[in-house]
Symmetry: C2
Subunit: 539 residues, 2 copies
Amino acid sequence: MNLFDMSLDKNPANYVSLSPLTFLKRAADVYPNKIACIHGEQSITWAETYLRCLKLASALSKRGIKKGDTVSAMMPNIPAMFELHFAVPMLGAVLHTINTRLDIKSVAFQLDHAESKAIFIDGEFASVMATAVKEAEVSPFVVDVDDLTFNSGSFIGEIEYEALIHEGEGDFTWSLPDDEWQSITLNYTSGTTGNPKGVVYHHRGAYLNALSNIVTWDMGSHPVYLWTLPMFHCNGWCFPWSVAASVGTNVCLRNVLPKTVFKLIKSEKVNHFCAAPTVLTMLINTPEKHKQGIEHDVKVMTAGAAPPAAVIQAMEEMGFGVTHVYGLTETYGPCTVCAWHEEWDDLKADEQAVLRARQGVRSTMLEDLMVADPETLEPMPKDGVSMGEVFMRGNNVMKGYLKNPSASEEAFKGGWFHSGDLAVWHEDGYIDIKDRSKDIIISGGENISTLEVESTLYRHPAVLEAAVVAKRDEVWGEKPCAFVTLKDDGAVVEKDIIAFCRENLAHYKVPKHVVFGELPKTSTGKIQKFVLRERADEI
Amino acid sequence: MNLFDMSLDKNPANYVSLSPLTFLKRAADVYPNKIACIHGEQSITWAETYLRCLKLASALSKRGIKKGDTVSAMMPNIPAMFELHFAVPMLGAVLHTINTRLDIKSVAFQLDHAESKAIFIDGEFASVMATAVKEAEVSPFVVDVDDLTFNSGSFIGEIEYEALIHEGEGDFTWSLPDDEWQSITLNYTSGTTGNPKGVVYHHRGAYLNALSNIVTWDMGSHPVYLWTLPMFHCNGWCFPWSVAASVGTNVCLRNVLPKTVFKLIKSEKVNHFCAAPTVLTMLINTPEKHKQGIEHDVKVMTAGAAPPAAVIQAMEEMGFGVTHVYGLTETYGPCTVCAWHEEWDDLKADEQAVLRARQGVRSTMLEDLMVADPETLEPMPKDGVSMGEVFMRGNNVMKGYLKNPSASEEAFKGGWFHSGDLAVWHEDGYIDIKDRSKDIIISGGENISTLEVESTLYRHPAVLEAAVVAKRDEVWGEKPCAFVTLKDDGAVVEKDIIAFCRENLAHYKVPKHVVFGELPKTSTGKIQKFVLRERADEI
């Protein structure tokens, strides 16, 4: 015991659990009249939001919801969804957000696995959810959410959201968790192998990642944040809590329609939004007349799949500042950032886009990041060529998978989180994701990154979307097979695309086949490569 | 035990101690060639800074410095002082920074109380320190710091700083603390009642407050930060760690000369600095020719004594964005901020300055702030009139006072930190300090304990009674003014008393005026300092 260990203990004055709930209270205290949420004609201040959350927490408490209970939500990005991110954890309960595009069976699985005690359902999803709740073994308390901007919803619950809030007391007493390790939310992975896994976040991580967003993205105070990214994705990458911490304004959005996105950017002076590369592609291909008239700076953070350099370049040319980040559900969303260097400003636009397409370095609050051998955990050389698995360590890595200790143990083997993504490490320490481990193509003993082939395809002017998978090949073991959606049907044919690839890629990487048509996607908008793999093998 | 308590434990992948040391490593990893420190002709990159810190930690370790040891520093704001903020905690040791204006006796007291094992001394302070080290009972390992921009220093140590660094290994292995509650630094208060108290900070608080600075002040990435605020004051309000976290540039400064400040703002494109109101007054009164030519935005954070609204207004008129903050050594420096409201932009300049002169609301990472009855801890009404004591709670409140459990206990009574400052609470929740704890004098940003000056006066053989109060001073903000009753009227004159004080006190603590006569007292015999304050101001 040294000098500094004596009589210098924690006490209520000098130690408080880290929790993002503190941000809401501060926003309401300091900026009570500032607008927290804009939704259609509706504006809700921070004081009102806090009061509504208190009443909601109080009402749920009266209905028996308590610490450690799961409260589910099937909702688009509307104010109620934002409020649940605070009201549920106020009780020590855990918010379980459900992907609105999920099928009945998957929803029922999640409700049972999460042992859901209550569920909030937006009218749009009532019919699907009625069946899902019936199929599930649990019997959660069902609350209908009647969003005023959606008119054709139906209702299946015991009470409507506003009526429930009305049941609560505005002077409800709550406190921060005694332990910042307390669980705050539950997000299921898409489950590419077997059943989906329930990723558990804690108050400490949510607090730190909310701040990491602000610091890493230079958000500043009072951002106007547009909800293009679903809140059911890793809790909107923790941005509900970031917006509260920076006392910004949430501009809500039920559906990501490019026309609406541009309209809101102009009318609400939106200056920050997050979006998957597919959304950026939609924005890029929106008619000019909708895009015109943006006179302020707008920053977009993108992740979810490696964005082709061409997409980034097109966004930058439209005047949007693009920050490329990368992460997984298990890392509270983005945990790396392609941190910019001033000296890159002097490079040509296409060279900049290539640099910006890398996944980059650890964000401010991730503690460690490496590309290493998946078995030995030996770091790979930083040579831009040697491929290894991406590993992370830090306070924004999940607590673990719910009721799945063996999966958790495997994910944390060796004291690092195993991402399952393959990357190279450039000389400057920036990582560059080449593939999911399971997506990589091995052709004649050579690794082919499907991402590299895809980003080449994206540079072809006729291509709207592209995906590349392995096709079994008698000679080579596997060969790349491309699936392409064209901007205009029939504009080019297979041999045009192949010729373009031969000009721009090593020949062994050129797809043997190009199939045109719509791409199959998951509920989260990710291309379903396993479907394409089956199709490829049938050719 | 609920669902979320099972098999979701901490492990090395998902739990890492919060420590500001991580910021240095990240800065060196991601921006190795960016300039970390500018000092005269010298520029040091982040990679070099990290390497120098590793070698310094290694060299200190070879010299026997280990976890829990105190390492002292008597230095101005030069790169070595910045480096010590990382190298010392890398060893688990505790950095003890000493006010460079302290007298020998106070320094010797601190060295002994802190049980100092090593001390770094800038050449300018060698002669004072030679005596202090001799007077102290401890025998620290003494390192001379030979700053290239200072030519007339002398040296008293065993080795020079650069030679010590040379002794260390660049591949020194260090790790973040196992426990984020581990002590990181030690800062002594001026000691209003008896001996100064050693305020202990921990890694968790330093990490969080460093980020709080960035978020609260909207610093953004890569600030150019000028070191007008001494690093020996609450570790420069944690800004050494904030600048590392935001990968900015430290512009070092030995002495705060207004001409130099303006020169550096222009030549280095400084955009952030912190300063006491007295420094702002000096800047305001600098000849126009030095001020001209600043073409970029500059933000200044001010605290240390309530800045007069006129000073804030004058700074704003000069084009500097002023953020007014408030805090104490016990709160890692500033913990409240006068958070701005857009609607105040429409007010007249003098009205704005009045609002900006308030100490404001809790900064992002302070958890709770209140103005309350000092005895009952009942919050005062928010009426702008009822005065109470300021109380804080949060992770940026100190661990406690070193080797002084009774003082710690008193400071934390009732689960709140008792600031000893008196304030009113305005209707909007903004606090407005009306009086510092009743005795303290703040002169040129330095705290002067009236008790210390009084006890010196009492040691003069001709003095019967003495009381010291603050007198407003145009240059220094406040200066001590002494009221003395002599044993024999006319035995000594003002200049005798002043000469005696100069022999026994640091020069900045010497009273500017000495008034002879009877002292006003309450019926219970207590000296009425408020009466003396009025008299002092009439002189």
